[in-house]
Symmetry: D2
Subunit: 271 residues, 4 copies
C-alpha cells in the first residue's frame, strides 16, 4: 500500500474534521509510550473507584491501572458479560476486588441502583470516572433528532446522573472525592461531523468547571481529560473512513499511523 | 430601604454566582440605552423569521424589532394565548404578518409541524432564532435527575431540533440562512447554581461554532449572543434572591439596580 | 495553471498553518460582499476617530467608512506621504476633515505627540482603533530575539501606548469612548509560523477584555475584531508562499482564491 | 483583629480583582498539602534543568524538588548572591549539582551567555522552566508606558528569549526537551489592576500552545501552569492591600487566610 497517510488525512481535513498527523515517524523516537505507572505503588490503597464504560478500551485501561496501584474498582456498563470478563482479568492481575455492575447511564434509576450496588459491595466510591460515551461521525444534516438525543443522553446526561448520585452521597457522608470526565480535543472550538458529541462533551467540561468551584467546599475536585486517538480501538477511524468513502485500506495499519503528532497512546497511559 | 445593592451582590458572589454590579449609577450616563433601530428601515424586507420563545421578553423584543424592519415573523412557544396577543400587538405596530405557532421545543415532532406551519403561512424561514430557554437557580446537589434533564431538553435539545429541522430544509432548498442562539455569560467558564443551564448553553455555543464551519458551504451563518440581565423580567432575580434567603426587598426596585456595569438593557436593544 | 488551490492549502496545513479554503466557489453566491454602509447616514456625526495604521489597507478602509458616516478622522502611521494621499482622498470623497499624523506606535513619546496633534486639529478622539500591526511568517526557530521584539513592540506595546495615552485623557475629561483593536483568528489557540504575532495579539485581546471591565466605570467600551484574509493585500500570502517554497503561481490570482469559506472580504466591509 | 477576611476580599472584588476566598476553613481538611514528592525517586536522573527566577519562592521550590528527584539544575536570575545561597542549600540537601547563573531575562545577549554557561557546566538543558516574572498591581490608568513595557519585557519577551535560545540549540542537537511556563489564573479572561501581567502571560500561553504544535516534530513538549496564591510570599498581597488602602492588618496573618478555596499551596507542591 503505497499511498501515504498524508493525503488521506488531508482529504478528510478538507471536509472539516481536524486531524493532526504530521511528522509522526520523525517524532515517535522522542515520545516513546511510558508503560509503567508514573505514581508510586499503593498510591490508591483504600480508595474505591467507580468507572462508567469500564468494560473495554480506555475505561478498562484506567480500571486496570487504578487496581494495580491499590484501588478497589466498580466497573459499570450495559454489557454484564464483558464486564465480568474484565473484572476477573483485572482482579487476577492486580489482586484487588473488581466489581462488575450492569447499568445504562441514560437511566437515573439504574445509576442509583449501580451506586447502591457499589456501596454494598465495596463502599462509597471517592474516585468517580465518567468515561462512558457514544458518537456518530456523520454530516450533521443526516442526523435524526433521535440520533442527536442519544448522544446527549449518554455523554452529557449520563455524566450528570452519575455525578449527582455520587456527589449527593459524598456530601451527605461529609467525605471528599475526585471526579474525572473524559472529553475530547474538539470540544472547545467545536468540530464538523461530530456535533452532538462535541456539544455534549463541552457541556461535561462546563459541568466540571462549575462543580469544581461549587462543590470545592465539600472537598471535591473535578477534572477532565481529552485524550487523542487511541491505538487499540479501530472502530472509530473505520467509521470515519467509511463516511469519507476512503475505506480501501488496511484499517489496523492505518490506525497505527493516525497516532497524534509524536505520541503513541496506549490506554493504560492515561491515568 | 437603606441597605445598598453592593452588600447583596457581594453576599451572593461569596457563594459563587458571578455578578457585576459595580458603579452602576456612575456609568449609566455613558451608556444610555439606544431605543431606535440601529439598522436602516426595510433591512429585513422579504425575510421570514422563526423565533422560539417569541411570545414574551427577549423573544418578543426581537420579533418586534425584526418586524419593524420589514420581516415577517413566526413566534413559537407553548402558550398559544400569549403568542396570539403578542402577534396581534406586533402586527399592528409594524404592519407585518406575525404568525403565532404553539409548540414545545422538546418535542421533535412538534417542531416539525411548527416549521410546516411556518412554511405554509409565511414560507421557509431564513432567520432562525433559538431563544426558548429554562433555568433552575439552585445548589446543584438539590437538583433531581429530572430537573437536570428538563433544562438540557429545552435549551440544548430544543435548539438542536429546531436547527436540524430548519437546516435540512434550507439545504434541500439550496437557500442560505442565518441562525442566532441565545446563550449566557456564564457559559464558557461555568458557574455555580446554574449548572444544567451552563452545560446546555455551552453545548449550544459549540453546536453553533461547529455548524458555522460545517454548514458554511450551504450558505448558512451561525451566531450566539449572550445578553446580560434584562430589565423587564423580575422572575429570574427573584428566584435567585429566594435561594439565598435574602428576599426582603422590593424586587422590582432591586432588579432595576442589577443592570450590568454601566449599561441598561431593554429587550429591543438586542438584535 | 491546472493545479488546484486545494493542494496548496493542504500542503501548507500539513505544516501547521491553519487555513480554511474549502468550497469557496460553491458558497460565494450566498455571501456576496455588502459594499454599502450597514449603518444609517450620519451615524458618526460629531465623532472624532484616531486610527493607527490608517494610511493603507484595512485602516484606510475603516477611516473611509467612518468619514462617510460623518466622523472626523486622524490617521496615524510612520509614512507621512502615504497618509497625506489617503487623507486627501477620503476627505474629498466624504467631505470630512481627515488629518494625517506621522508617528511610530512603538514610541510612547511619538504617540503622546500624535494625540496632542489630534486634540489640536480635531479634538480629543472618542473612537480609537488600534489597527497598526506587523508579522513575520516564519518557522519560529529562524526568528532572532530582535524579530520577536519588533512584533511585540508594534502589536502589543503600540496598542498599549495608544490606549494608555488616549484612555488617561478621556478619563480626565470625564468623557466616554470606544476602543477597537484588530486581532487575528489564530490568537486563542495559537498557530505555528506566526508565533510573535499570535502572542502579541492575544495580549491585545486580554488587554481589551481587562479594560472593558476596569474602565467601564469611565464610560469606555472595548472590542476586538479578528478579520480573515483580505482581498486587497498580496504581501502576506506572497510571503507565506515563499517560506513554503511554493511560489510558482500568479499570486494575485492565488490570493483571490484564498478568501475564507464562502466569504469575500473587502476592507470597507469590516467596520 | 475581628474584621473577617470576607469583607476585605469582598471590598477588593467590588473593584474588579478576582479572588476566591470562600469557605477556606471548612475545606482545608479535605485538601491537606501533600509535601512528599508525587513521583518515584530518581525520576529526573541525568536530566538538566534551567529555571529562571530560580533563586527564591516558586522557582526555588521547583529547583529543589527537581534536584531531590535526581536532576542537575541551573538557576538563573539577576541577583547572584541570592542564587549562590539557594544553589548551596539545594545542592547540600539533594546531593545534586546546582549552578547559579546571573542574567536578566530581558536581555537576549545575557540569556545567550547564561545558556552557554549552563552548557559548559552541566550540559544542554532539556527541562526549561520560564518562571521569572514581574507585576504591578495598579489601576491601569496610573501606569506609565515604561511600567507597561517592563512587565512585557520580563514576562513575555524574557520567556521568548529563553525559549528561542534553548529551543534552537535543542533542535540543532536533535534532542527533545520539555518547557514549562508559569502563567496566572487571570490570563484567559483578563483582569483589572494587573493588565500588563495578564496581557504578557496570555502571550506566554499562546507561545506555549503554538510551539507545542510547531516544535512537536523536534521532540519538544510545552506546558503552562497557573498556580493560585502561594503561602510563602507576602509581597504581592501586601501591595494589593496598599493600593486598596486597606493595609491596617497583620499581613502575614491575612495572607495565611487568602489561600485558594480549600487548598493550601506551598512552593514545593507545584512541580
Amino acid at each position: 500500500m503505497k499511498k501515504s497517510v498524508y493525503s488521506i488525512t488531508t482529504f478528510i481535513s478538507k471536509r472539516g474534521f481536524h486531524l493532526a498527523s504530521c511528522n509522526m515517524q520523525k517524532t515517535t523516537k522522542f515520545f516513546e509510550p511510558c508503560i509503567k505507572p508514573m505514581l508510586p505503588p499503593g498510591t490508591f490503597k483504600d480508595r474505591i473507584a467507580f468507572i462508567t464504560g469500564g468494560g473495554t478500551g480506555l475505561g478498562k485501561g484506567m480500571a486496570s491501572m487504578l487496581a494495580s496501584l491499590g484501588a478497589q474498582v466498580a466497573i459499570v456498563s450495559r454489557k454484564l458479560d464483558v464486564l465480568e470478563n474484565t473484572a476477573e482479568e483485572i482482579s487476577k492481575s492486580s489482586g484487588q476486588k473488581v466489581v462488575p455492575i450492569a447499568a445504562d447511564v441514560r437511566d437515573p434509576e439504574a445509576i442509583k441502583k449501580a451506586v447502591d450496588d457499589c456501596e454494598n459491595k465495596l463502599g462509597l466510591p471517592s474516585i468517580i470516572i465518567n468515561n462512558a460515551a457514544g458518537n456518530f461521525i456523520s454530516p450533521t444534516e443526516r442526523l435524526s433528532p433521535n440520533a442527536w438525543k442519544t448522544i446527549i443522553d449518554i455523554v452529557l446526561n449520563g455524566t450528570a446522573y452519575v455525578t449527582l448520585e455520587t456527589g449527593k452521597r459524598l456530601i451527605k457522608a461529609n467525605q471528599g472525592g475526585v471526579f474525572l470526565a473524559l472529553t475530547a480535543t474538539y470540544c472547545t472550538q467545536g468540530s464538523s461531523f461530530v456535533v452532538p458529541s462535541a456539544a455534549a462533551k463541552t457541556g461535561v467540561e462546563v459541568l466540571t468547571k462549575s462543580l469544581a468551584s461549587e462543590w470545592a467546599q465539600y472537598g471535591m475536585r473535578f477534572n477532565c481529560i481529552a485524550p487523542g486517538p487511541i491505538e487499540t480501538k479501530v472502530r472509530l477511524w473505520k467509521e470515519m473512513l467509511m463516511i469519507t468513502n476512503l475505506f480501501k485500506y488496511d484499517s489496523s495499519n492505518f490506525v497505527q499511523k493516525l497516532k497524534p503528532p509524536g505520541r503513541s497512546f496506549r490506554t493504560y497511559q492515561l491515568f
